[in-house]
């Protein structure tokens, strides 16, 4: 899952950065805080050097500069000068138990270590060797020896240490991160499923069990809501179907007896005309009832669509021919313009015929004084869609009214109701187009005729 990979990447990056930062901070702390105490005050070597430099011979006497003396006092240290023959020729606050003469071996010994447990430091003087001793147990004295190669390798070693640290941090964070991701992944897929409105159940365990439970709860809530919505749509659709059904039987009798009276010779002509009006109105009611049913089925997606590849030009030819064959008034002319025969769409033939017929019917009904209707089947400019364009040169409709046309009459989205026709025709076309993953585009303005463009995805 892409989400998980991204989280892991971010997490690892952040961990490496943190490790690197910690390392730097540690070096700084080590340098400034830990090693600060090492040279606290003045270093013994420095004191020793100051003493050696501040010790001057004055005939057979030696005098120590006050500054050096002060430092010795401060560190509670003692000092002596050993002449080249091993005898102590000058001393300062030297402890009593210390000998006053040293052999070469003794000097070599204490110059590296301790003189009778006193940490001592030496510095060369023009008359011999200055020795400064510190109180017992006040200083630790170590000798370090490094091979030159080790010293010259030191930068690389430090660099390797740094990289090792970073690598270790990366590996550790990857390990911890992937464990985290393993725990998060079900949650992520759960949330993705939620966003796609699918049922999901996330295994609730570990630290994310609370979130998992919430996701499961949200999922079941969504499912319940969907089921409720579906039930309501179904109830609505069934209600309309039921009403349409109940209207059919009485309407049968209205139509039946009206047409009988219309055709009966025993009935006076005037009454026959009235019966004819009743029959015609009854037929309008009949088409309204079946349109209502179809529109409600399309609206709630209850209409099963039986699709097959359909050649748009064949369909258009058939419909235009049907209009011409069925006594279209003289004032109307229909022209078919097929720009390509290779225009197949996956569709429900009955519904598509209904949609195209409705559009043609619309042009005819709304232009009672006649008009020219141009029907064109073509490919969209990007060659991806099939277009069926019906243009008339009739009176058109105000541009601002166009969005209303595709809404169902009496729906909240519709600003005004239309008085001409029952107003289900165009909304039905829009819904049939939508059911075929296509759309209906209307363009018109007063006096400029109407253009209806049906756009469907091409069938491969």
């Amino acid at each position: 899952m892409d989400g998980a990979a991204q989280i892991l990447r971010r997490y690892t990056g952040a961990s490496i950065l943190i490790a690197f930062f910690l390392l730097i901070v540690n070096y700084i702390i080590l340098g400034t805080f830990v090693f600060k105490g090492m040279n606290e005050g003045s270093s013994p070597v420095h004191v020793t050097q100051t003493v050696a430099e501040g010790l001057h011979q004055n005939g057979s006497h030696y005098t120590l500069e006050p500054k050096a003396q002060e430092w010795l006092q401060k560190s509670q240290a003692w000092a002596m000068l050993i002449a080249n023959d091993g005898k102590v020729i000058w001393d300062y606050a030297i402890p009593d138990q210390l000998p006053r003469a040293y052999s070469l071996a003794e000097v070599a010994q204490f110059s590296r270590n301790y003189l009778q447990d006193y940490p001592v430091f030496v510095w060369e003087h023009e008359r011999g060797l200055v020795v400064v001793g510190y109180p017992k147990d006040s200083l630790a004295k170590y000798q370090f020896h490094f091979p030159i190669s080790w010293i010259s390798d030191l930068p690389y070693r430090l660099l390797a240490l740094l990289f090792g640290n970073v690598l270790l941090a990366a590996l550790l964070s990857l390990f911890i991160g992937s464990r985290l991701i393993r725990a998060i992944r079900p949650l992520i897929s759960g949330i993705h499923a939620l966003s796609e409105d699918q049922h999901t159940h996330v295994e609730a365990k570990g630290m994310f069990s609370g979130i998992a439970r919430s996701i499961n709860h949200a999922s079941s809530l969504l499912q319940e809501k969907n089921a409720l919505l579906k039930a309501r749509d179904e109830a609505r659709s069934n209600w309309i179907a039921g009403i349409s059904h109940d209207i059919r039987t009485p309407l049968s009798m209205v139509l039946g007896y009206a047409s009988e009276l219309e055709e009966s010779d025993a009935v006076p002509f005037e009454q026959q005309q009235k019966a004819s009006i009743i029959r015609k109105q009854g037929e309008k009611l009949r088409s309204l009832v079946s349109d209502l049913n179809l529109v409600s089925m399309l609206e709630y997606e209850m209409q099963p669509i039986h699709t097959k590849p359909i050649r748009l030009s064949t369909l258009a030819r058939q419909i235009v021919t049907d209009f011409l064959n069925n006594d279209l008034a003289e004032t109307f002319t229909i022209e078919l313009d097929v720009t390509t025969e290779q225009c197949f769409v996956m569709g429900d033939e009955k519904l598509l015929v209904r949609a195209i017929t409705n559009l043609l019917q619309n042009s005819i009904v709304h232009n009672p004084s006649g008009c020219h209707i141009h029907v064109q089947t073509t490919l969209s400019p990007n060659q991806r869609n099939a277009l069926l364009i019906i243009t008339d040169n009739g009176k058109g409709i105000e541009h601002s009214m166009l969005p209303d046309l595709v809404e169902l009459p009496y729906s909240s989205k519709r600003k005004s109701t239309l008085h001409n026709g029952h107003g289900l025709g165009i909304p039905m076309v829009a819904r049939i187009a939508a059911a075929h993953h296509g759309h209906l585009l209307l363009t018109s303005d007063t006096g400029k005729g109407m253009t209806a463009e049906l756009c469907f995805p091409l069938s491969s």
């Binding site: 039987t249 049968s252 009798m253 209205v254 139509l255 050649r311």
Partner: protein
Amino acid sequence: MEEWKQKKVLIVEDELEIRNMIDGFLRKEGFSRIFHAGSCKEALVICASDKPDVAILDVMLPDGDGFGLLTSIRRFSQIPVIFLSARGEDEDRLLGLGLGADDYIVKPFLPRELVLRLLVILRRVYAPPQIDRLPVFQLGDSTVDLEAAIVTRDHHEYALTAKEHALLRKLYENRGRIVTSDALCQSVWGDDYYGYENTLMVHMRRIREKIEPCPSTPEYLLTVRGLGYKLLVKEES
């Protein structure tokens, strides 16, 4: 025509008023032997005792539905059946026709339509076996004999090829109406007709050479631009 109206018709419909209305129409058309049933049970009793020749069935009945009733009737009788239902969904129609009904009419219906459909079915089912003869018709000075596939004009006989014959037959069946080029191609070349449009034009020209006095200005076989062709036949009889 009148012989069909001696046939026994069974109306199965639970609404008394509709039943009476249909009854009235049928009697007015000349049918006299009409039986009524308001439920499946009554219908089965009448089927067994009076042996109707045709049945008009409602789908929704108080003791079952018309589909079940048809299944029961089919166990002992092959009479033609028309469904007459307020249920007009595709599934219902397909179910009814799939069960072997001869027609399916959705309410509300025009009585004239019901009677015409009823007559078509009676004629088809009970017509004495006879060989269907294809028509012979007149186009101006030409006589087209579809049975013999010959056009006679100015004492000349022109034989029609199989394709020309099929096209002319289709056009004659829809005479006076536009037949789309798709429908014509399909009637000759079947469902894989696509790509035969140019061949169709060639055939139409040959037909015109045989039937038209002046093939370049046709009088009887007209081209309707972009749509198809139309055969104009002046009925004389």
